[in-house]
């Protein structure tokens, strides 16, 4: 237990750990191979209350906050990062944003089923031509009335959308026709797109290096009519809405590589104390000890960066953009590095699918890319450093 954690956090961690060992670990290798999303486990996570940790009790959540959400992500990722990633897209990107920006009517309509795990949520920002440069998105809408009902007609393409293929509710970012990267770049509007809406087409999940059990899809919008009541927040205020949940998102996604690193260390530690070469356990060699020490130290440093920021967020501190970005890129790079070291310790056995570490290495790489690449996070950290110090430069970066 870390200094930030309350007894409630400790109980939550134990509940997630028990669930992860009993239900997630046994299927992790199989679902990686078959690319099958563990829908049944997702429902059980709802029963255990994991999906609503950031939502107040009056809307069916447990109102625990960012640190609790980081704990869930970490403990899930320790056994299966795909499960954690889909949980994050659902519970943080969709549920938490819907709660933060939704009206009372929208909260009551959508949150109960999303929190129970009966429904799944997604969040669609990235497009084929806009990743790091998110506000350069090109999905367009126009205001239109259909059958006497006011609404919005969307056209465009979204890419790399976690959960989109299965989601019942997807949060979508689009811009009014006539605006673009050069004109009113910030004029972005957020919508709730429901599964089965005509013109809303999530594609078959893509084939990717890792995170294979978490479906990632392209979505096309073809004259997709979204009724007025599915507007999330205010028109053209999407950029502000996006920022409300951003620090929580960064800090909870950063908990996933912490979990992967811990999982890789768990396996490597056991292997190093059992496997014998030259008549002794390989853990007796200094080189292996050095690997293990670096893995554990960097994992702990990552966890502390994540938990400290989450703890501050939970206590109402604002302006944690720099801290969240530091945690995100540091933890994700430690995740990849640590998982690769685990493969190295296991040697040939680490490269075959009999052990989980090769999967962990493949899964870990995504975290350096998704939700803001390491390059973008570094730019944010440096920009904030300069701004907070009161310096200014000619560039507008």
């Amino acid at each position: 237990m870390l200094s930030f954690e309350t007894p409630e956090h400790e109980m939550l961690r134990k509940a997630v750990r028990d669930f992860a060992i009993k239900e997630v670990r046994p299927i992790a290798a199989k679902i990686d191979k078959t690319k099958e999303f563990p829908r049944e486990n997702f429902r059980k996570m709802g029963e255990l209350g994991f999906h609503g940790v950031t939502v107040p009790t009056e809307y069916g959540g447990s109102g625990m906050g960012a640190l609790a959400c980081a704990i869930v992500n970490e403990e899930l990722a320790r056994e299966c990062a795909s499960t954690a990633l889909s949980y994050l897209a659902h519970a943080v990107l969709c549920v938490n944003n819907l709660y933060l920006n939704g009206t009372d009517v929208q909260r009551k309509k959508y949150l109960p089923k999303l929190i129970s795990g009966e429904h799944m949520g997604a969040w669609a920002l990235t497009e084929p031509g806009s990743g790091s440069d998110a506000k350069a998105l090109k999905t367009k809408y126009r205001v239109e009335s259909r059958g006497g009902k006011k609404g919005f007609v969307l056209n465009g393409t979204k890419l790399f959308i976690t959960n989109a293929f299965l989601a019942d509710v997807t949060i979508v970012f689009a811009r009014p026709e006539g605006t673009g990267p050069e004109k009113d770049k910030d004029a972005i509007t957020v919508f709730l797109a429901e599964k089965g809406t005509p013109g809303f087409k999530p594609h078959e999940p893509m084939d990717k290096m890792g995170m294979r059990a978490s479906p990632t899809s392209e979505i096309t919008f073809e004259d997709c009519f979204i009724p007025e009541e599915n507007l999330l927040g205010q028109e053209r205020k999407g950029t502000e809405h996006m920022l409300l949940g951003l620090d929580v998102e960064r800090i909870t996604i950063a908990a996933i590589p912490v979990g992967i690193a811990q999982g890789a260390l768990d396996v490597a530690l056991k292997y190093a104390t059992e496997r014998k070469q030259f008549g002794v356990e390989i853990g007796t060699f200094q080189m292996i000890k050095t690997f293990l020490a670096d893995m554990a130290t960097e994992t702990r440093a990552s966890r502390l960066l994540v938990y400290d920021t989450a703890h501050r967020l939970d206590h109402g501190e604002k302006g944690l953009t720099m801290e969240a970005s530091m945690a995100k890129y540091y933890a994700s790079e430690v995740g990849t590095r640590t998982a690769l070291k685990a493969v190295q310790i296991l040697g040939g056995y680490g490269y075959i699918t009999e052990f989980p570490v090769e999967r962990m290495a493949r899964d870990a790489k995504l975290l350096e890319i998704g939700a803001g690449t390491s390059e973008i996070q570094r730019i944010i950290v440096a920009r904030e450093l300069i701004r907070k110090a009161g310096y200014s430069m000619g560039d507008k970066s």
């Binding site: 990743g131 893509m206 290096m209 190295q344 040697g347 490269y351 493949r362 890319i369 690449t373 390059e375």
Partner: protein, 379 residues
């Protein structure tokens, strides 16, 4: 990229393998990775190109060239596919042992068809409980009548199930390195079976499996050299293997950098090509430094070997540096591509998966560091 220190013949060899790679390997590399498929006809075509026996003398069906040429060949193929380059490098290992220690009769029967690409060769040293600690291998070869009986299991054997002939290391004497001998085993030998293909992170089109020897009787003329020489044969083959693994890493890195340059100049963000960003430029610059340094180490060790100088430490340095570099370069290549780099639609995710095991095979990089340090401290 043209290297002024390469002879005209070497340049011509590089060009012909480059063209072969573009025409034959590149079109199938991604699909064979996805399907986890090895195609024998691709290997047959390498035989047709004359590269399956580069360092074997012309008198025995090879090209009679040196390691300087050998590394050019595997590097060029690895630009498009590491696993196919690996199969080519591995079929060279039994040739190294046969060339150095085989009798004329053994050379005629095995070396010639291996060099001509008519037979596919493999190398079986590692066992389930013996990897880095090869001198402790447990497979036994017991003298019986006019031959030997092999008994035991081998693990992580490249080309297993597809190879026609395997060099197998087994214990004929007491414990330790001095009790090991090397033998040739043919795929049809009674008592020899191959396990199911391993499921693994990368190298998907180079098959990997266990070998089992149960009362496997082989004639006496399958012994290579003398009894007790096997461990020396294995270490010599691994020294050579380290050079080719390093060369494969160079090819892989060149392939990754080429893909990044193409993508980076086309992809725009914030209204400009992503290569306008220093963060991307410096990653590319670091890649190029690692490639250049690795390539020079490979050329140097190949030249040492060709000139008959000791090269064990230099092989370890080249292997360790080039494979660590390949891991970094391919991981960064995925990063340059961003989300697209994580998809199977582009080659860089495959390259990153293929890179990792380069740090493990032919002696893990921990072993390479031991080899280097031991040499330093002996002086």
């Amino acid at each position: 990229m043209s290297n002024p220190f390469e002879s005209d013949d070497q340049k011509a060899l590089r060009e012909s393998v480059r063209r072969f790679t573009v025409d034959v390997i590149e079109p199938i590399a991604a699909e064979d990775d996805q399907q986890k498929r090895f195609r024998r006809d691709i290997f047959d075509k390498m035989g047709g190109l004359g590269v399956t026996g580069i360092t074997t003398p012309e008198a025995w069906g090879g090209a009679g060239l040196g390691f300087r040429e050998y590394v050019i060949v595997v590097e060029e193929i690895a630009k498009a596919s590491v696993p196919y380059a690996v199969v080519l490098a591995v079929t060279g290992l039994p040739q190294q042992t046969l060339k150095a220690h085989g009798t004329d009769a053994q050379k005629e029967k095995w070396l010639r068809p291996l060099a001509e690409g008519k037979l596919l060769g493999a190398f079986a040293l590692t066992e389930p409980s013996v990897g880095s600690d090869a001198a402790n291998l447990k497979t036994t070869a017991t003298k019986s009548g006019d031959g030997y009986v092999l008994s035991g299991a081998k693990m992580f054997i490249t080309s297993a199930g597809y190879a026609d002939v395997y060099v197998v290391f087994a214990r004929t004497g007491g414990p330790g390195a001095k009790g090991v001998s090397s033998f040739l085993v043919h795929k049809d030998d009674k008592g020899f079976t191959v396990g199911a293909p391993e499921k693994k992170m990368g190298w998907n089109s180079s098959p990997l499996a266990q070998l089992f020897f149960e009362d496997c009787r082989i004639p006496a003329d399958r012994l290579l050299g003398a009894e007790g020489d096997g461990f020396r044969h294995a270490m010599a083959a691994l020294d050579s293997g380290r050079i080719t693994i390093a060369a494969i890493s160079v090819g892989l890195m060149r392939g990754a950098l080429a893909a990044c340059l193409k993508y980076g100049k086309e992809r725009t963000a914030f209204g400009k090509p992503i290569t306008d960003n220093q963060a991307i430029q410096f990653m590319l610059a670091d890649m190029d430094q690692k490639i250049s340094a690795s390539a020079r180490l490979v050329e140097h060790v190949a030249a040492l070997r060709d000139a008959g100088h000791p090269y064990g430490k230099e092989a370890a340095i080249a292997k360790c540096f080039a494979t660590d570099s390949a891991m970094q370069v391919t991981t960064d290549a995925v990063q340059v591509f961003g989300g697209y780099g994580y998809l199977a639609d582009y080659p860089v995710e495959r390259m990153m998966r293929d890179a990792k095991v380069l740090q493990i095979v032919e002696g893990t990089n921990q072993i390479q560091r031991m080899v280097i340090a031991r040499d330093l401290l002996r002086a």
